[in-house]
């Protein structure tokens, strides 16, 4: 059955079809952007060392701006260790001191032999990396070995 379409109805129909086309284009672009985004590298693992007799800022380079960071730290050749979690607004370290575990807010690394403490807090997370501000309490010595997992995500 033929349907008579007047000029107004025709223009409405054409507009609807044109809108659908644009919607399809946008959907295709979004899908492509999403696929590109999913293919990007979102995490980075690196090893870092630092002598525990030294304080000061140690800058670590990354290929992106990290949104969260996990730092596992050990004092080489001992059982002193710590695990730190860092996000954009908070950081916390959980560490072993003879003979118990403790939490240290506002720091991402804490190596504690029961008397001497070597601790670091993550500062200044940028597009190219971040810094660890090392502080010493008492006279910690030895070498801190860090394994760092940095994670990011697209967008701002």
């Amino acid at each position: 059955m033929k349907k008579v379409i007047d000029g107004y109805a025709r223009s409405q129909a054409m507009a609807a079809l044109s809108g659908a086309g644009r919607a399809n284009d946008l959907s295709s672009q979004t899908t492509q952007s999403l696929e590109t985004h999913k293919a990007e590298s979102m995490s980075y693992v690196l090893e870092v060392t630092r002598d525990m007799s030294l304080s000061g800022i140690q800058t670590i380079t990354l290929p992106f701006k990290a949104k969260s960071i996990i730092i596992r730290a050990v004092k080489y050749d001992t059982i002193q260790d710590s695990t730190g979690f860092v996000s954009t607004n908070v950081q916390h370290a959980q560490y072993y001191m003879p003979t118990k575990y403790r939490l240290l807010p506002n720091y991402a690394v804490a190596l504690n032999d029961g008397v001497n403490i070597f601790k670091g807090n993550v500062i200044n997370i940028t597009e190219t990396g971040f810094g660890i501000n090392w502080e010493r309490t008492g006279d910690p010595i030895g070498t801190a070995w860090l394994l760092i997992l940095a994670i990011t995500h697209g967008g701002v």
Partner: protein, 81 residues
């Protein structure tokens, strides 16, 4: 991995994959000038580390307890207490 160390030592200011200019910056942040540090490759660092004398190991808690018990036994047996 590279190691920015205090010259002629194995004291690591920055052991990482950082570019050399960042390592130099990290050395300055710790109070060292360019003349006071050197940057070693992994192989050079390991070779130097092997030459370092190994410090005596600290006794474990169990070993400390055993030593303390032995000392107490010795004092008791010899009338020192």
């Amino acid at each position: 991995m590279k190691y920015c160390v205090i010259k002629n030592t194995i004291k690591v200011i920055d052991g990482s994959e950082n570019p050399i200019e960042i390592m130099l910056q990290n050395a300055q942040n710790s109070g060292f000038t360019e003349n006071e540090i050197e940057i070693l490759t992994e192989e050079e660092y390991r070779a130097r580390k092997e030459l370092e004398p190994i410090p005596p190991k600290e006794p474990t808690t169990e070993e400390r307890l055993e030593l303390a018990e032995s000392a107490i036994d010795f004092l008791i047996m010899n009338g020192g207490m």
